[in-house]
């Protein structure tokens, strides 16, 4: 039955398109509007092996789509080649790609070393010369930060992440410090994504010296089964972080705060109130983004079908927006908006101060299943 359908399209999408164009009121499968700027909204996408790819939206329509053959996770804009992005694989992938968005071509493949795999996140050094990625030393079950030359991708060095299962990481605005979310969960490629150390898992937020890899400081949350996995950094160095809880290992049903922030020099702050919001997040927050201009951090929970917004200075709830299976989250300077995506091809814009949705800007690409993370590239590429 499926043979007449393009492999990347779900059957129901096809028939909605057929029905719309033949019998019923016109219903375009793609209703495109902004982005109107030269920003690109970029994300891994796909639900099956044959349609995994990297897609990007520009000028109100699907700007391009590169087939990758494997599921991606985070995407990084290359600071020295702004037309390029690094497409990092979902754990436990062993190959990353550099993709030129202006042509849609894969420029380079970046392979993890023997006994290593990627965790799906990374960042660049402040001068753009070094690509840092979170990786696993498989045999030892240790977290590593791998350094590569950002032009040749030659291995430069490898540091400890000072934890197990490092996931997201970022460079701080001082240019000298890296922050790493050690999820604390041990997995191995030969046992898939199964957590192997639940009784002993311990997550941490670690600060490393970006020049030496030395541990500067590390922070823990009280709940040992809470895994800090995603983060974003504000212009003042505040780190907003997001947690997922291994509920089956907690042995209790108490609410666990899942979102918070860490200000330089302070302790971890968890945004636990209101409890109804924590409850709604359903033990899983999958991405976080900060709008510096409004001082708001957005946290997305695909299990809760919700994005919640907190004031980073006060820790108070500023608002929420409900969207099914929402996870992709980024800030658009050109639109002064939070942009959110889901696995049903939807993109929505919310004003970064009022949090009101610009409904006229809704975008739906039914053939695209946006994955967990969204990148909005800086607008310094050619149109």
């Amino acid at each position: 039955m499926e043979k007449f359908l393009a492999p990347s399209l779900r059957r129901r999408d096809v028939l909605l398109a057929i029905a719309g164009s033949t019998l019923f009121a016109p219903a375009l499968p793609v209703q495109a509007s902004p982005p109107i700027s030269s920003e690109r909204w970029v994300s891994a996408h796909g639900g099956e092996t044959e349609d995994f790819g990297l897609g990007w939206v520009g000028s109100g329509k699907l700007g391009g789509n590169a087939s990758t053959g494997f599921r991606g996770h985070a995407v990084l804009q290359h600071p020295l080649r702004p037309e390029s992005v690094i497409f990092l694989p979902r754990r436990p992938g062993k190959t990353a790609l550099e993709v030129d968005l202006s042509t849609g071509t894969v420029l380079r493949k970046i392979h993890s070393e023997q006994d290593r795999h990627f965790f799906g996140h990374g960042c660049f050094s402040s001068d753009g010369s070094v690509l840092f990625t979170t990786e696993a030393q498989i045999s030892a079950g240790l977290g590593r930060i791998t350094l590569r030359d950002s032009s040749s991708y030659a291995l430069l060095d490898e540091w400890s992440s000072f934890g197990i299962g490092p996931h997201d990481m970022a460079a701080l605005p001082d240019g000298k410090t890296l922050v790493v979310a050690n999820g604390g969960i041990l997995t191995r490629p030969d046992s898939g994504r199964k957590a192997l150390n639940l009784p002993t898992m311990r997550s941490s937020l670690c600060y490393l010296d970006a020049a030496s890899g030395m541990l500067i400081d590390e922070f823990f949350v009280d709940e040992p089964k809470a895994s800090i996995r995603h983060l974003d950094v504000a212009s003042d160095g505040t780190v907003a972080f997001a947690i997922q809880v291994q509920r089956e290992a907690t042995g209790h049903d108490r609410l666990v705060p899942l979102i918070g922030a860490h200000r330089p020099g302070g302790a971890l702050e968890l945004f636990a109130e209101p409890e109804a919001i924590t409850f709604q997040l359903k033990d899983y927050v999958g991405s976080v983004a900060i709008a510096n201009e409004s001082g708001l951090a957005a946290y997305a929970s695909p299990r809760g079908n919700i994005v919640v917004f907190f004031d980073l200075k006060t820790g108070a709830l500023a608002g929420y927006h409900q969207l099914r299976d929402v996870c992709g989250l980024a800030v658009s300077p050109a639109h002064r908006a939070f942009v959110i995506t889901n696995s049903f091809g939807e993109m929505r814009e919310l004003d970064w101060s009022t949090l009101l949705e610009r409904r006229e800007s809704r975008l739906r690409l039914p053939q695209i299943r946006w994955d967990n993370h969204l990148l909005i590239t800086a607008a310094n590429h050619t149109a």
Partner: protein, 375 residues
């Protein structure tokens, strides 16, 4: 003429049950009458139309009646309470207890559809004011007992406004259960004679009873109005928004229905509801039986002529999935018959799993990759 369908079972379902679907088949067949691909299109479109018909059927034969029955039962409970308060007798006490049981069972049918008007607010959703246990499985019996004792003791007028201001954990079915099935004295006697004696000695207890039931009735009216008149600020009833696929968070109707069902079944197991709910009236097994009845109604339809979810699953060649669901239902019913909480938890897990795998897979419902497989 329409082209013959390749799938005979699909043809049977559609032709025997829905002239509208037959018309749809014919129209599509006429649009493109050449080659295998047109047969493919006919079949694909039929599946979607059959699923839509099943969703329509679910709404109008299961969900809306559940909403209406809950309201009607709440109204009947209020009338019964008014009768009891005008004539305090054991007969009338037993009658109001029976009304509460009926309402509680109806709630366990309606609870399968905990979305839209029932779950209308992130912070203060309506369902929590009806059933505080449902929020996080916390049993607020001690809280409602203290509140009832306090309301009897104080001098404040027990008006509708007074009860409308109460937090969710002080009102609802649990509070009414405590009022009608036990005394508010420290021993919390369940003996009708003791309960009657307290109502005799404490006239304010009847005001408490009426006040709590009117709040329940008000919530039931709100839910019914949301489904059939206007949902929040949409100017449309939720029924319309649901059937038209216009839900604010973008969820499609069948996805919403399946997620809500699995969430409720998950809640029943995770919170050991059979051992925590309705422990004053000892009525939890019957309530869970009502849930299973509702699950069957949802999946099988109201009558053999219905366009049901099971019909769509069979029509698309997923008889084995239907059999798996039916087997789970049989096992849940057996655990209920045996009054075996451990087996109930296990078998509800089977049924919950059916709503996560067999049913959405058979219907090709996509619940989202981030939802099911996050990192």
């Amino acid at each position: 003429m329409h082209r013959p369908l390749k799938n005979n079972s699909l043809s049977r379902v559609l032709f025997s049950r829905s002239p509208a679907l037959l018309l749809l088949i014919s129209l599509f067949a006429c649009v493109d009458s050449g080659g295998d691909s047109s047969e493919q299109r006919v079949e694909v479109v039929n599946e979607a139309a059959a699923l839509q018909a099943a969703i329509d059927e679910s709404v109008d034969s299961a969900i809306v009646p559940a909403v209406q029955d809950f309201l009607r039962n709440a109204q009947e409970l209020r009338a019964s309470a008014e009768t009891f308060c005008s004539t305090n007798s054991e007969t009338n006490l037993l009658a109001i207890q029976e009304r509460w049981r009926t309402l509680f069972q109806q709630w366990y049918r309606l609870s399968l559809y905990n979305f839209g008007p029932l779950n209308d607010d992130i912070i203060f959703p309506t369902f929590t004011f009806i059933d505080s246990l449902r929020l996080r499985g916390t049993n607020y019996l001690a809280t409602v007992r203290a509140e009832i004792e306090n309301d009897i003791a104080i001098d404040d007028p027990l008006t509708d406004e007074y009860y409308a201001r109460k937090t969710f954990n002080r009102v609802g079915l649990l509070a009414v259960e405590s009022v009608v099935f036990e005394t508010s004295t420290p021993e919390h006697s369940n003996e009708p004679v003791d309960i009657l004696a307290e109502f005799d000695a404490q006239p304010r207890k009847c005001q408490v009873l009426i006040g709590l039931i009117r709040q329940l009735e008000s919530r039931a009216e709100q839910v019914e109005s949301g489904w059939l008149t206007q949902f929040k600020d949409s100017e449309l009833p939720y029924r319309t928004l649901f059937l038209d696929g216009q839900l604010e968070d973008g969820t499609d109707p069948i996805g919403q229905l399946l997620i809500a069902s699995q969430e409720f079944l998950d809640y029943l197991q995770a919170r050991n509801v059979v051992t925590t709910a309705a422990q004053v009236s000892m009525f939890s097994w019957e309530a869970i039986t009502a849930t299973v009845d509702e699950v069957e109604l949802l999946l099988r339809g109201a009558s053999p002529a219905s366009n049901s979810i099971f019909d769509v699953m069979v029509a698309t060649g997923n008889q084995n999935a239907v059999a798996a669901v039916e087997d789970s239902i049989v096992q849940v019913r057996q655990a209920i018959a045996d009054r075996d909480p451990a087996m109930l938890e296990i078998t509800l897990g089977f049924l919950d799993g059916n709503f996560k795998r067999e049913i959405p897979d058979s219907l090709e419902v996509d619940l989202g990759i981030n939802f099911s497989d996050g990192d």
